[in-house]
Amino acid sequence: MKRRKFIRNLSMAAAGAIAAPYILPSGRLFAASGSRLVNHVVLVLFGGGIRNQESVEQQYLLSQGAGPGGNVMRNMLNGAAPPYALVYEPWTPILPEPLANSGTLFKHMRYEQGPTGHFNGHSAVLTGHYNETSLNLNINPEYPTVFEYYRKHSSPARNAVNAWWLSMDLGPYPALNYSRHPDYGPNYGANYISPLTTFGGIGYDYFSTLNTLHPEELARLNDLRSFLDSNFDKSITDIPGIVNTAEDRAEIQQFIIDLLNGSIPVEYPLPGGVSPDQISGDLINITAAWQVLNRFEPELLVINTTNLDICHSDFSSYLSLLHRADYGVGWLWDKIQSHPVLANDTIMICIPEHGRNAEPNAILDSNGLFAYDHTSDENSRDIFGLIVGPAGIVNQGHVIGSPEEAAGQAIDIVPTIAHILGFHDELPPFMLSGSVLEGAFV
């Protein structure tokens, strides 16, 4: 009897072992499809370190005792502009009504743990993990990035051309397009560019006169490379970096050359009549983001703005750059809504990587305003989030969270994007501790 029971259990275990590879972490037999809220997500790491006082609290110069309050982010937030004592050149909003009316504002979110450093903040948002210590800036993060989760767990798996990461400047940021995690890594990473360099002076000097290869030349090249590579025992996977398909690589190369040689007309996020010298690095990054969106219609695109970090030494410029970055975000949303594929099928999320201190440092700018650092005090952990998208999918004009009761954290962005793009249930449950920002969705 015992022997029979043993054999029966063994048979059941064997059957389970055979079936197990087809059972997904969610417990379902097959990957989900069609459970997306929309097909495109744009994440703006609206950063450089922004205090809630100058953003959602609209205090303008009040906290310095140097002038009135007022809203300097009129494309994103409801509220009247400062009535006087302007230390920036005001730009007329590009949107007929602020983005907050087209989505949900998480007025007080938390950057809960770890140092409030720029790279730590970026890493927390993009990986869904806080880092308790300062990171090694020159290596890819330990935990998978949102790009890797998206590419690995979407069904069917997506090519790299569907995921993009554009950083305003280089520094450590190129390392955020994939992680060192053994189950993910570069095979699931995003395409990365840093527009100020990729399309800047160096790119123009070296590559603007480049001719792309004719398809027949490309075919001969690929044949010859295949032959040469077949005689060498190391493959492309032994070489660091993400890999595009040959077709996608050729298309991206053409895109870079087209932008460098002026074949693609470039429109900048500047109001009419504003001098081109008002363009900031943040706005150039937003310009490039639109070019990528327009050309490749990626499902997941992440950009950042970092110019506002000037707040360490120049509060007036911080306000001016905040005002301009807000215009850029409005401009980008306006462009998205004019695109035949992206319009009404895109959700945009904006979140600073961290805040700034409650107390200023000792540096005064030319207007006699004090500057602020970010040294992990409670104020620098107070951030906001804005999720905008189509009515019927995203709650419109909704505001969540207060200074007393924060709602949401920086590490919630990865699960929220997974929820939007329909692969949240496929994520290994032990990988992320953040939650979907459910309050944003109908």
Binding site: L170, T197, I202, D229, N231, I239
Partner: protein, 172 residues
């Protein structure tokens, strides 16, 4: 007794001469210096290549292979920074290599299609040596020769491009 004295003497002289051999040094001059890589005149086999070139090494070796001179430091700095700005390294390598292969200075160092087809064996031999720092195997010679003979559109620039973009070229 007398004989053993002679033996000891002869042994001492032998030891003296053998311990004072003049050291002969050989100076090897390489014409394609690649930064941070110990230049190896010729590899016996590509199996010896197990280390990935750094971006700096890769770009400087491409330059020296195509221009027969060391890369100016300003050019190297610019290209290393540019390479950082694009995530797909294969793509950015293509940009860099294609740009160099358009330079008339480089084109002057590349055999013409006619020259290649006059002596394909020699072209293959020198190309392997130039880019892979090794001799081609018999199989490689046979296959590449076939490809060149069968495809009249395949010219030396395209072949050089393929060598520079191949996986083997990324290693040393």
């Amino acid at each position: 007794m007398q004989v053993s004295k002679w033996i000891v003497g002869a042994l001492a002289v032998t030891l003296f001469w053998s311990s004072c051999k003049k050291e002969i040094t050989q100076e090897i001059i390489y014409d394609n210096i690649i930064y941070q890589i110990d230049t190896v005149p010729v590899y016996d086999s590509n199996l010896e290549k197990d280390r990935l070139k750094t971006p700096l090494q890769f770009i400087s070796s491409v330059f020296s292979n195509l221009y027969f001179s060391s890369i100016p430091s300003s050019v190297l700095d610019n290209l290393v920074v540019y390479r950082l700005s694009v995530g797909d390294k294969s793509l950015v390598n293509e940009l860099i290599i294609n740009a160099m292969l358009q330079d008339p200075v480089v084109l002057a160092n590349i055999p013409t299609d006619e020259e290649m087809r006059l002596d394909i064996d020699d072209f293959i031999f020198t190309t392997y040596l130039r880019f892979y720092l090794r001799y081609p195997t018999e199989y490689e010679k046979y296959e590449l020769k076939n490809m060149i003979e069968e495809n009249t559109d395949l010219d030396p620039v395209e072949i050089f491009r393929a060598f520079l973009l191949s996986n083997e070229y990324q290693f040393y």
